[in-house]
Subunit: 327 residues, 2 copies
DNA sequence: GTTTATTGTTGCCATTGTGGCACTAATAAA
DNA sequence: TTTATTAGTGCCACAATGGCAACAATAAAC
């Protein structure tokens, strides 16, 4: 990274008011921002920022540098725009894997629009709920729940993942609505099971605020979220599912969230996994398109569940793993 | 190196008309310029230069990019100037070694002026005619004749090095003026001898144009050029010396170039040697100051010998090891 | 006032990019 | 036609980058 790029990062730091925010926006570690700002000051031989451990202020030099930095960004933008007037389109194969539900609902729409924007990019999507070998099977990008087993891979959280417990009204008529997790545990459950993820216990916070788990009565298992939802709608089992599985089942009343007063912990976040950094441009652009489609603050799938943020003890303030924004 | 720096290099390439010239000016290998221009075109996704193996022309995109590149350079210059208004001075120790003559005449004056510009830089000069261990003895920079023995060091030619043969008028009265190298070989010579360099034969081109050497009659040896010059001035020996040894001895008539019709090959160039690339700024600045002081095209020491470029078969065109410039 | 959460910093390390060298191909100059 | 010079490229050593983990300190929460 050269001085010019560091100046542009400096500008972003000042505009965002935070090293941490810039890191999150750029999908890099916070330490990178810190180090690059230090290097910029070494390059220029002048201090631009006075820092405390949680904030900073501009020096006189920093204030003056800011004006020039804005002109620099504008000019560089114009320069790059010239190039784009002569651009050759990005092309090549983009091979992506995802779990089935996420793939169908969130990756596929993005891929369709992405190929409209870049017709010369070939996209290959593999919907796999089993563990995949990202490197060995030649994937450019993988979307998974939870961190990868292979620590040599790079993984970024792109959306928080919250669970909810749903049942059909018919189910509640048959079994009565459970008031406690212990009551729930006796009822028949439909649960998710695949190589990568197997649900047999539910974690929750007890009345004393301690996180604990309870073994549930799993009577039906499948590795497809739609199948679990169908089973729940049939009224013959309840299920606990990630919010991203829900389409309009709650909006339409076919499924009802239950035990919403119980506090549940966030589940493993949805991650984008890639084999190494320095992604090709088409991969980076696709990654960003998916993240924008899902939504950076609140995953769009949570909008399918009215008042979801008031259920299960979720904080009203956003506790997303991708970072909390101050106003 | 980022896109902005590559754009600035692109601008320089166009202005200089040559990858090779830019490389020489920046003290980098020619392959670096080639590769960076290719990367710039990859970054921008557009071709800027059409190349043949010895020249290039601008594409339409390249022409348009050129205008923006000039604005970019100007703005970046202004930005850096702001920083310099708040600058802290470069400081630290700069430890340099050089052969005695070069050190006294060319390094010392530069070091004096350099420390006036940068009072907080300490300079330590070691005048050594023996082989030195650049890394082991902690030198930042060494100026030597000829390439270093240790191939792990980085070495750049900074000045060509041509020999001449001089004698005092009194010497010529005593022995007569030699007309051939064979006649010269019989006369008493004062020659240079140190650990690093020992002269006992003179190379020259014979009447058929073949490079050959002749053993000379070395009657006096010293490792100090001034001493050899003094011996020659005394009229008791001639000597063959590098041009950088000559001050005003020729201008004043105290020494006369002889056998000037004989064609002599260039000798090992004067090199700057440093332990690794990525030099600290003070070292880089000092290096550039020395190179400017010596002169990039024709070493300034050659100006001490009137009509030197017409002697000894030296090409009228400049055959400096640091590169030849087309008009 | 105390405790907790968050941010900026820094050491360490694996990975990637840079820069230098050697060699090649091709073209301009001799 | 021959020679010299320039741009290109493969290979490799070295330096920079980016990520992770842990720490210190401060702002926010209680």
């Amino acid at each position: 990274m050269d001085t010019t790029s560091r100046i542009l990062m400096f500008l972003e730091v000042v505009e965002q008011g935070s090293f941490a925010k810039v890191a999150e926006r750029r999908n890099i570690d916070r330490s990178v921002v810190s180090k690059q700002m230090n290097k910029l000051e070494d390059d220029l031989g002048v201090r631009l920022l006075n820092r405390t451990t949680r904030s900073f202020s501009l020096t006189a030099a920093g204030s003056e540098m800011l004006k020039k930095a804005k002109e620099l960004r504008e000019l560089l933008g114009e320069t790059l725009t010239i190039a784009q007037n002569y651009h050759t389109e990005p092309k090549g194969l983009l091979k992506v894997t995802s779990s089935t539900i996420i793939g169908k609902r969130y990756i596929l729409p993005v891929a369709i629009e992405f190929q409209q924007r870049f017709p010369q990019v070939e996209v290959e999507i593999r919907l796999e709920d089993r563990l995949v070998d990202v490197v060995g099977e030649g994937y450019d990008l993988a979307f998974r729940v939870g961190p990868p087993r292979d620590s040599s891979l790079i993984s970024r959280a792109i959306a928080r993942n919250r669970m909810l417990i749903v049942a059909a009204p018919k189910f509640l008529e048959t079994y009565g609505e459970p008031k406690t997790m212990q009551q729930l545990a006796k009822l028949p459950a439909a649960t998710y099971a695949s190589d990568a993820l197997k649900v047999s216990q539910l974690p929750y916070y007890d009345s004393k605020g301690n996180e604990t788990t309870i073994t549930i009565n799993s009577q039906f298992r499948a590795n497809d979220g739609d199948v679990l939802i169908s089973k729940a709608i049939s009224g013959t089992a309840y299920c606990a599912v990630p919010a991203f599985v829900i389409s309009d089942e709650v909006m339409s009343g076919r499924l009802v969230p239950i035990l919403t007063h119980v506090k549940l912990p966030d589940y493993h976040s949805v991650q984008a996994v890639y084999p190494h950094r320095g992604l090709p441009v088409r991969t980076q652009l696709f990654f960003e398109a998916v993240r924008d489609f899902i939504g950076k603050e609140t995953p769009n799938w949570e909008k399918n569940i009215p008042d979801f943020d008031k259920m299960y003890g979720f904080e009203v303030k956003d506790s997303s793993p991708v970072g909390r924004w101050t106003a």
